[in-house]
């Protein structure tokens, strides 16, 4: 059976909200939990020791825990935080850029790669496997055909590298040195007043025709529609996907997890998770279409 994972929280939540969230997640039927700040260097509600403590608690609850690195590394301070998560020997690290791979390799820490790492072909996977890669995420813009070729190629090479797919949530699409939230409030990035705390699921960016295009989340831009591959789970299993990633949101996550769990067990979900939330769904990337498209299953 495919594993379910909770990706790192991409939004900025208060320390209490983060603890509350994982307190509940400890009881959910997820196998793997990614912990840490993957987006913004200024988001430090939780200190490294808080994250380590949380990681140990969740591990004690039977969860596999992976520590996620920051995606855009810009400064010496960023590197210091990166080294902190690579200076332990209890947990695997999710490398979200090449700095993280370098530091993890240097410290002999097992690592997997997140969906922002550019892995588009088997040659790249082979190179990384030699350096200690233990698993990888499909870049969000790739779909089932490429994934199937990658998994087949890995088998032909005799490589056992479990594949994970981002399957539910707002897609992380871009990272910038500019903070779009601070920009919205006419604040300098260095003095942003942590306004992201007021937007626990980002700020909607709409076209002048009110189309939900993107979500602004500090220095990152996410999709305006919510990626949802629940109906594609059986296909993923056939292709050989090992883990299905759900991206945390502050409302309704328990229901989302419950339904994905039902579907991976071959049951029919009792209700439609899309009714939970107001954002439109999309699944275009999976079918090789624009990511924002919604392809009906029968047409896939």
């Amino acid at each position: 059976m495919m594993k379910l994972s909770l990706g790192p929280i991409l939004w900025f939540w208060s320390k209490q909200s983060v603890f509350d969230f994982y307190g509940k997640a400890a009881e959910w039927p997820v196998d793997t939990i990614y912990l840490g700040e993957a987006v913004c260097s200024r988001r430090r509600e939780l200190k490294p020791d808080d994250w380590f403590a949380l990681a140990r608690d969740l591990k004690a609850c039977g969860k596999e825990v992976v520590l996620s690195s920051q995606t855009l590394i810009e400064s010496e301070a960023d590197l210091r935080r990166l080294r902190r998560i690579c200076e332990q020997n209890e947990f695997c690290v999710e490398a979200n850029d090449q700095s993280a791979m370098q530091v993890a390799i240097g410290n002999g820490i097992p690592f997997v790669t997140g969906p922002s790492m550019n892995i588009y072909n088997v040659a790249t996977l082979k190179v990384l496997a030699k350096r200690g890669l233990k698993g990888w995420n499909l870049p969000v813009e790739l779909g089932r055909d490429t994934l199937a070729q990658l998994i087949t190629g890995l088998k032909q090479e005799g490589l056992d590298l479990p594949a994970e797919v981002f399957a539910w949530g707002f897609l992380p699409l871009a990272w910038s040195s500019r903070c779009f939230t601070a920009r919205h409030y006419n604040l300098p990035k260095d003095n942003c007043e942590f306004r992201c705390l007021q937007h626990p699921d980002g700020m909607e960016l709409r076209s002048r025709e009110s189309q939900e295009l993107f979500r602004l989340n500090g220095i990152s831009t996410l999709s305006g529609s919510r990626y949802d591959l629940m109906r594609e789970l059986p296909e993923m299993e056939r292709i050989g996907v090992s883990t299905v990633r759900l991206s945390p949101e502050h409302l309704g996550m328990d229901e989302v997890v419950r339904r994905f769990d039902q579907v991976r067990r071959g049951e029919t979900p009792d209700t439609d998770p899309l009714q939970l939330v107001e954002a439109p769904p999309c699944n275009g990337y999976w079918y090789g279409k624009p990511g924002m498209d919604l392809v009906a299953k029968s047409g896939g």
Binding site: T71, L72, I73, E74, S75, E76, D78, L79, D97, Q98, S99, M101, Q102, N118, I119, Y120, N121, V122, A123, T124, L125, K126, V127, L128, R131, P139, E141, T146, Q149, G153, L171, L173, A174, W175, S176, S177, R178, A182, R183, H184, P188, K189, D190, M203, E204, L205, R206, S207, R208, S210, Q211, L213, F214, T221, G284, Y285, K289, P290, G291, M292
Partner: protein
């Protein structure tokens, strides 16, 4: 510092060389490079002619193969590396780790430069590429402040090249999927951002509209200059405000930073714009040649000539330029 100029076509290549480029970069006429434009780029014959022209005049030629091959494109991308090697280029600009590995194994003597699409923003990332693929040079993404560039340069195991002038990419290059989210093509997959095939212009009672795969990117009032609908430079609504929520259409211009960049040991400055005309390339290359020569001859008293500034402003998007992320206050 070396002046590295874009060559979208053979006339552009010759113009860049004639106007003082130390090196030019080009791509093949397909999706193996990150600037796939209709009618631009090189076949092997034109590339050979361009390389000969440049070499006779003491300029170097780099070949950009900086998109990310998927399994069904692997042979084509590998073939592009072999073609570049066979043509006798002075360096291959690569982003994909698999392709970097292939080039290092198969053509070890041809220098490998890490493309900006390789997204290396720290010296640890640069060490990764140096340790694993023995790259000689890296192009830094346009997301670092000058102080941050200083930090990277201090510990970098390789030569650094930075963007000096041209369109401003606001996102960390190589890790931006906004374009494929709207259109199915991105710089990584198809060498295209906001591809022309998805663009539509329409006069409406509300004004001139630009659309990308039917998404309204911007609407212009009478007489308002209209830009190409690059999706991150459109006007959008956030919390009831309508503005350029991601980025204004402006160009990067770092003339003012030249002494600083030189002081940091930056090896080369790069001009963006393989999609530009030879006339544009001529003006930009000539201006930067003057600036670099001045810097070379009197580094202590270097000042930016107002004439250079005017020339470059006239060539910029919306007539506006910015120091972009190099400027710490930029937001």
């Amino acid at each position: 510092m070396e002046l590295v100029c874009p060559a979208g076509s053979l006339p552009a290549l010759k113009t860049a060389v004639d106007n003082g480029a130390n090196a030019v970069y080009f791509g093949f006429r397909d999706s193996t490079n990150a600037r796939q434009f209709a009618g631009l780029n090189f076949n092997d014959k034109r590339a050979a002619e361009g390389i000969e022209y440049a070499h006779q005049r003491g300029a170097r030629v780099f070949c950009a193969i900086n998109t990310y091959p998927q399994p069904d494109g692997w042979e084509q991308w590998k073939g592009a590396v072999d073609r570049a090697a066979g043509l006798g280029v002075d360096a291959i600009i690569l982003a994909d780790m698999g392709l970097l590995d292939y080039a290092a194994q198969k053509h070890p003597d041809i220098p490998r430069h890490l493309s900006v699409q390789g997204s290396a923003t720290s010296y640890e990332a640069l060490k990764f590429y140096k340790d694993n693929f023995d790259i000689r040079r890296a192009v830094l993404p346009r997301v670092l402040s000058l102080d941050q560039v200083r930090g990277v340069a201090k510990h970098s195991p390789v030569e650094l090249e930075v963007f000096a002038f041209g369109s401003l990419c606001i996102m960390a290059e190589g890790r931006c999927y906004l374009s494929s989210y709207l259109t199915d093509e991105s710089p990584n997959t198809r060498g295209a951002c906001s591809p022309a095939k998805a663009v539509r212009w329409q006069e409406t009672p509300q004004g001139l509209e630009s659309r990308l795969n039917d998404v309204l990117i911007d609407r212009y009032g009478p007489g308002e200059p209209a830009g190409y609908p690059t999706l991150c430079k459109g006007r959008f609504e956030v919390e009831g405000s309508l503005y350029h929520a991601i980025e204004e259409p402006v160009s990067l211009n770092t003339l003012d930073l030249l002494p600083d960049l030189q002081g940091l040991g930056i090896r080369a400055v790069k001009i963006e714009g393989r999609q530009r005309s030879p006339a544009y390339i001529a003006d930009v290359a000539r201006t930067w040649r003057h600036a670099l020569d001045d810097l070379e001859s009197r580094p202590e008293s270097f000042t930016v000539d107002p004439g250079w500034r005017n020339t470059l402003s006239g060539l910029s998007e919306g007539g506006l330029t910015t120091l972009g992320a190099y400027h710490r206050k930029w937001k």
